[in-house]
């Protein structure tokens, strides 16, 4: 007995008892919930299992990046949703970062009116629910665009109206695959050259003509490749027939509105992160740089931002994850993302709520983990190397 008590007083033993108790409680709760759920489902006659994924979906989607058609399976529909979620998320992340930097730097500008306006924008955007932005942009976008008959014509091949932006689509993608290969190759070459030039500069202090090389490899070669591919391919140019333009690819207004909402909203938060990051850079750094004769633009690019980035990466990662999660607001305006297609249409047709919700949550968790992993890698790369 005394021995048992002594054992209880041992901190390690007690810790294990706590932990086992918590795990047992969790396991018990899980079993309880799962048993209730299966009982309730049997009683209600709700089907379970993942067989439904291979049933024909029969759902039309107006915005498809994969080669899905309505005769495909529900699994195919799922991938359409995932692709659309990722598309709007990635583009919104890039654009929101750009706009956020512009506003954040404007906020710190010495120009009074500019910094006041940037501040007003930030305060306005951060304190209004995102759903307002989504609805505002959606109905704003639709209302401000003309009907198909009065479309805005861009060079006679692309057409903008309240059904979306109709752009030509190549009949066969093979030439574009070659072009894409060439572009990737030339970007890889640029990366190799840049690495070589940096090492040489570290060794000898000599500058290489990186601007010219970069222009050729990053801009000119890809432009030529795309130009060649476009000229060598037959194009499916949209034509106005009946209600709307036929052929080509339609960038739907739902996409544009969701993108605009995510960008303008997130930019307000990123601007604050940028401001905080820049203010965290010691003022002496900037004074030292200007004492060395650097111009303000170069100080910002070479001294301030690289140091500010280190402070900014963790909160930026959070904002990127928010963009991913917030892309689900597209469901409110019929943007066919994974929530709207899979948790909406597919759930309605099959009724298998638990399976569908679990898969939807998994999509966000997996993409979110990938984004975090990438940002952590980037953060480690730019972290201050102390010797």
């Amino acid at each position: 007995m005394a021995k048992a008590l002594a054992l209880l007083n041992d901190k390690r033993v007690r810790d294990w008892i706590y932990q086992i108790a918590v795990v047992a409680l969790l396991v018990g709760l899980t079993i309880f919930f799962v048993r209730n759920a299966s009982e309730n489902m049997v009683k209600a006659g709700i089907a379970s299992g993942f067989d439904f994924l291979w049933r024909a979906s029969g759902i039309d989607v107006p915005f498809v990046l994969t080669n899905y058609t309505r005769s495909d399976t529900i699994m195919g529909l799922f991938w359409v949703g995932v692709a659309n979620t990722m598309l709007v998320t990635v583009i919104a992340m890039v654009l929101a970062t750009l706009l956020g930097f512009v506003v954040g730097i404007a906020r710190l500008s010495s120009h009074w009116l500019l910094s006041t306006l940037a501040g007003a924008y930030i305060e306005f955007v951060r304190n209004i629910p995102l759903l307002f932005f989504v609805l505002f942009w959606y109905f704003g976008v639709i209302a401000s665009l003309p009907a198909p008959r009065d479309s805005v014509k861009l060079f006679g091949i692309a057409f903008l109206n309240n059904r979306g932006l109709t752009i030509p689509l190549p009949d066969a993608p093979s030439n574009f695959r070659w072009a894409l290969g060439a572009i990737l190759l030339s970007w890889f070459a640029q990366w190799l050259v840049a690495r070589w030039a940096r090492r040489r500069k570290d060794r000898t202090g000599q500058d290489a003509p990186m601007l010219a090389i970069g222009l050729v490899l990053v801009v000119l070669v890809p432009a030529l490749a795309i130009a060649w591919a476009s000229l060598a391919t037959r194009w499916d140019v949209p034509v106005l027939r009946g209600f709307n333009y036929r052929g080509g690819f339609v960038v739907i207004p739902e996409f544009v509105a969701l993108l605009a909402a995510l960008v303008t909203y997130t930019a307000g938060f990123i601007a604050e992160i940028v401001r905080g990051g820049i203010q965290a850079v010691p003022h002496g750094q900037i004074e030292a740089a200007s004492a060395l004769g650097l111009r303000p633009g170069r100080i910002l690019r070479l001294v301030t931002i690289p140091q500010a980035l280190r402070v900014m990466i963790p909160p930026l990662t959070n904002q990127y994850l928010n963009v991913l999660k917030n892309s689900s607001f597209g469901a409110a305006i019929a943007y066919p993302d994974v929530v709207s297609l899979f948790m909406g249409s597919a759930l309605n047709n099959t009724g298998q709520a638990i399976e569908i919700i679990a898969m939807t949550l998994a999509v966000y968790l997996v993409i979110g983990l990938a984004v975090s992993a990438f940002m952590n890698w980037y953060n480690a790369r730019i972290a201050l190397v102390t010797r």
Binding site: A44, G45, G58, R70, G242, F243, A331, S345, N349
Partner: protein, 343 residues
């Protein structure tokens, strides 16, 4: 002797109660409704003519009238209904998980819903036919004129699939945009996002009044589908299903037999027609067979009216929707509305 009589009486009473207990299978839903003192009814979020709450929170409409009739039959008071507005997505889970006792939400009866969602449809209270709402300026006269149009629709509804199938079968290409709620779809249509909005003829008549300028839009007359709609219950609890089914039949039978909310007292007292007498509980014990008071349909007709009265004030001539009876006329008058006899 007295003891024996008493014993026999007790025995008789016991066996009678046993017999009635054997006759009536247990109905957890009915028991729950009685214990709660009100009926939980799942309805549409807001569709004038079918289920619509005004700014005071009072519900009206054809589906709402069904809920009220059911409450009157079960609880004796048509006001004892609680409405749960449901979106297209939520309606099945809400019914399946037992949050409502019955769903009267202009939902189309289909095979796959019946077979795989654990739901039973208890009859037809509205023969809906899907068609399109378009701007007059498009000059479209039939659905076939909509080639190339973009169409707004509520996701997961039968309309989404109907429209998609119909156009594909005719090699017409339309773009269908799926909204999560009917109201979102109609708002987008009104804003110019779509050339057409598709739903049932009755629903369209209800939605049209929400547009900014209703007169600029017309409803195409030719339907592309057949969408019978009616109250829905969960699987299981057969006695509750029975009640839901026969209250609907009762309102239709009342119209057939000429019983209205105005003459129901007189009919109950004086009618020689034995079907009327059985319906209103003056003869037989039809209510008791389901575990309801015998004046179940009397209460429903007295407080809510027969099907024809409901139709008229909700969607028909007496309403803003002004729909024709059409298919929803009694079968004896050229429509499809039918009820098995109360025998």
């Amino acid at each position: 002797m007295r003891m024996r009589i008493l014993g026999a009486t007790v025995l008789l009473a016991a066996s009678a109660s046993l017999a009635s207990a054997q006759q009536l299978t247990p109905s957890p839903t009915l028991d729950a409704v009685k214990a709660r003192g009100n009926l939980e009814c799942g309805v549409h979020l807001g569709l004038p003519g079918f289920s619509f709450a005004n700014d005071k929170g009072e519900w009206t409409g054809l589906d709402v009238d069904y809920c009220r009739a059911l409450a009157a039959a079960v609880l004796g008071d048509a006001k004892k209904v609680k409405y749960t507005p449901t979106s297209v997505q939520q309606r099945w889970p809400i019914l399946q998980s037992g949050q409502v006792d019955v769903l009267a939400r202009n939902s189309t009866i289909t095979f796959s819903r019946n077979a795989s969602l654990g739901l039973n449809f208890q009859g037809i209270n509205f023969y809906e036919g899907q068609t399109f709402l378009v701007r007059k300026s498009t000059n479209a006269k039939t659905a076939a004129d909509l080639d190339g149009a973009s169409v707004c629709v509520a996701a997961g509804s039968t309309e989404e699939k109907n429209a998609s199938d119909w156009f594909r079968e005719r090699n017409l290409k339309v773009t269908i945009t799926n909204f999560q709620k009917n109201d979102d779809a109609i708002a987008a249509y009104d804003a110019g996002r779509c050339d057409a909005y598709t739903a049932g003829v009755g629903a369209l008549a209800g939605q049209r009044v929400k547009l900014k300028v209703p007169d600029e839009h017309i409803i195409l007359t030719q339907p592309i589908s057949n969408d019978p709609q009616g109250p829905v219950t969960r699987w299981g609890d057969e006695r509750w299903q029975l009640i839901v089914r026969w209250v609907l039949n009762g309102t239709i039978a009342a119209e057939m037999l000429g019983v209205t909310s105005a003459n129901v007292d007189e009919m109950k007292a004086n009618s020689k027609n034995s079907e009327v007498r059985r319906l209103l509980g003056a003869e037989g014990d039809f209510g008791a067979m389901m575990g309801l008071p015998n004046d179940w349909m009397y209460n429903a007709i007295k407080q809510v009216g027969n099907y024809g009265e409901s139709f008229d004030r909700s969607v028909g001539a007496g309403s803003t929707l002004k729909l024709e009876r059409g298919q929803n006329q009694l079968w004896t008058k050229g429509g499809l509305l039918f009820t098995p006899p109360f025998q």
